[in-house]
Symmetry: none
Subunit: 204 residues, 4 copies
DNA sequence: TATGAATGAGCTTTCATTCAT
DNA sequence: AATGAATGAAAGCTCATTCAT
């Protein structure tokens, strides 16, 4: 029942990579946190690089797979957006440090990871673009929406959470997802009372 | 006319720090890019850390100062939000790699920088929170808006730009700012025509 | 039975520091003398500075402690002087290069050592001054003796030994101590037979 | 009238070598103290090593020459010892930092200096040994005096002064010389009143 | 006379990695 | 399953020295 030593090493590595960054974390740091000597780690892992891979692999696979399902599903686009954002936040809830490591260090370690990790941020962004394009096509979203920029905007909003998310914070991942979804769909402006009076409406 | 050697070194360092990360960039890398030997750099700088400081100092000072002005100014909140976002994007336009280095590496290098750099992301976020709170108080923004989370959302959107911004890209910083502003204010949903008049609604 | 590697490193460092000076001795020199690579030393020590500390710590502690005992003891001052000098010479016998390093490099490395080494040459000299003052007070030493200068003189005599002492030399530390003691107590002049009685003066 | 720039450089170097040690003193330190840039020093000197040579050359020549004269002169040995010690102290008075540099750094820099500086501590000690041997032979000094060890003792006493001498101190070099001379000749013990009268002797 | 800029060798230190036990 | 010891490459930094101007 207790997690295997290997799992423990990966978990500890995820936490330390998140706290100090991949390069600033030494194998000695990790070994000490696990309670062994750095040389002993090599009984479980082949290299520091592999450890990074083990840290990020599963969470990002899950994220991509679920987003693909959502995009492919039949549902109003607003619903799908809500689901996609919830999916994103749930990742933080479940795999916090891992996903943070992925988000932070991927650009600089791409060359090290890309042989073993196929899911790139680029692809994730394409899925979002597709989702938004569905909404524009169906008329649910604004005609003039620049879907690519909108995808970048939403991704930024959601990814940046890795900087301030606190697994033990006041707001749950679901609550954050709900607030974000509403912001994305409706914006922050107070809706102007419906037009009825008409007339002067055209003047901004 | 040509920039001083020191400025060149700082510019090169900014670029390389952005490309490979602060820790992964060696002084030898920087020296080679400038066309000298690593030891020679120390004629211009005192340490790698100081170089980091020189890279980020000015841009972030500008950003904070301008945002403070905007928040303190008299104008509709929607206008101020637009200005703040434009301010943010203009930074990318003017100091791209520098600001990217700041956004990426600050959390892990805080302890190195905080003696010399007072402006923290935390403070920047507080300014945004204040700005949004002004809008809620004045009735321009939704009553139920969680201003703190909204600030995080907007910041995420704007900061994340450092990951994909291309100074030579199709969209200018101002254009991105305009698209972001609209998204934040109104969201992505197609506005439903005011209900009462009904009738023609179905026609897109 | 063989001394631990750490002890060997400290011993080798003491010898090389003595031969070439602390600053002129490189960790590569030390590592080579021990039969390893310079990086490997860091498995045993934290820094070159710590190595210096390990070299000098014990010997000087012993020296101070023993001198304090002697000064505090009850015995004729001439005896105590003899003991103090013997103590001093015995240090050379037992910890030759270590004590030489301390005597030679302390003034310039004080700032590095003083956090961890409390015993200063100044304090040692004060103990000697006290000892001589005891002798003046008791009438065993000359009334007009400048005890401070005399302490400096004795210390100079004894410390300078680090420059020419040879652990395998003809004279043992005890023999040197005895010769020094006699010089200090009685000087080098041939004692003039007490003048008054005259007569028998010629007979030594 | 004003000392030439070269003389100023040598004087400054002597002071800094004394304060921080030869190796720890950088040419930049020296240049800054003189008010120029380090590269500019090379207009006056050929190398750091030569600077060391310039610092110590004259003082030690004077010391050796004068000691040779004293040893060769006709006078009671006690007088000659007094003169030799006064000579030694006068050096501190006239060339304080220079002589301190020589005394401190010579052993480790011998190989660098010995091509240009012929006067070695060894030779100086031989002169002293000769002087003492003259006294033993003439019966002025104790028959059983170990002249070599006594020479070492006297040299230690006199050389060590470089560690505490203060050109602006209370005691002049001549006064220190007088105190040292008396110590060396007669020791520190209170002379016992000539034996015959006896009786009250035991009561201090 | 002196500067400013650069060199290059060498320093202390770090760290992922190896491997016999 | 883990240790202890060592490696070796590379990092940041220092500094005596050079030289065109």
């Amino acid at each position: 029942m207790s997690p295997s030593k290997e799992q423990e090493i990966v978990a500890v590595a995820a936490r330390l990579f998140k706290e100090k960054g991949y390069r600033a974390t030494t194998l000695e740091d990790i070994a000490a946190a696990v309670g062994m000597l750095k040389g002993s780690l090599y009984y479980y892992i082949r290299s520091k690089e592999e450890l990074l891979y083990l840290v990020v692999r599963d969470p990002i696979r899950q994220a991509y797979t679920r987003l693909e399902e959502i995009v492919a599903s039949q549902a109003p686009v607003a619903t799908k957006i809500a689901q996609a954002i919830t999916n994103h936040m749930t990742l933080f809830h479940r795999h916090y440090p891992h996903i943070a490591v992925y988000l932070h260090d991927f650009p600089h370690l791409m060359h090290k990871l890309q042989q073993s990790v196929r899911e790139t941020p680029k692809q994730y962004q394409r899925l979002w673009t597709t989702l938004l394009a569905q909404g524009v096509a169906s008329g649910e979203l604004r005609r003039d929406l620049d879907v690519k920029i909108a995808a970048y905007a939403i991704l930024g909003m959601c990814n940046w959470v890795y900087r301030w998310y606190d697994p033990r914070g006041k707001l749950s991942a679901e609550e954050i997802a709900a607030l974000f979804t509403r912001m994305i769909l409706e914006g922050v402006l107070r809706p102007r009372p419906a037009s009825p009076p008409a007339a002067s409406e055209a003047v901004p």
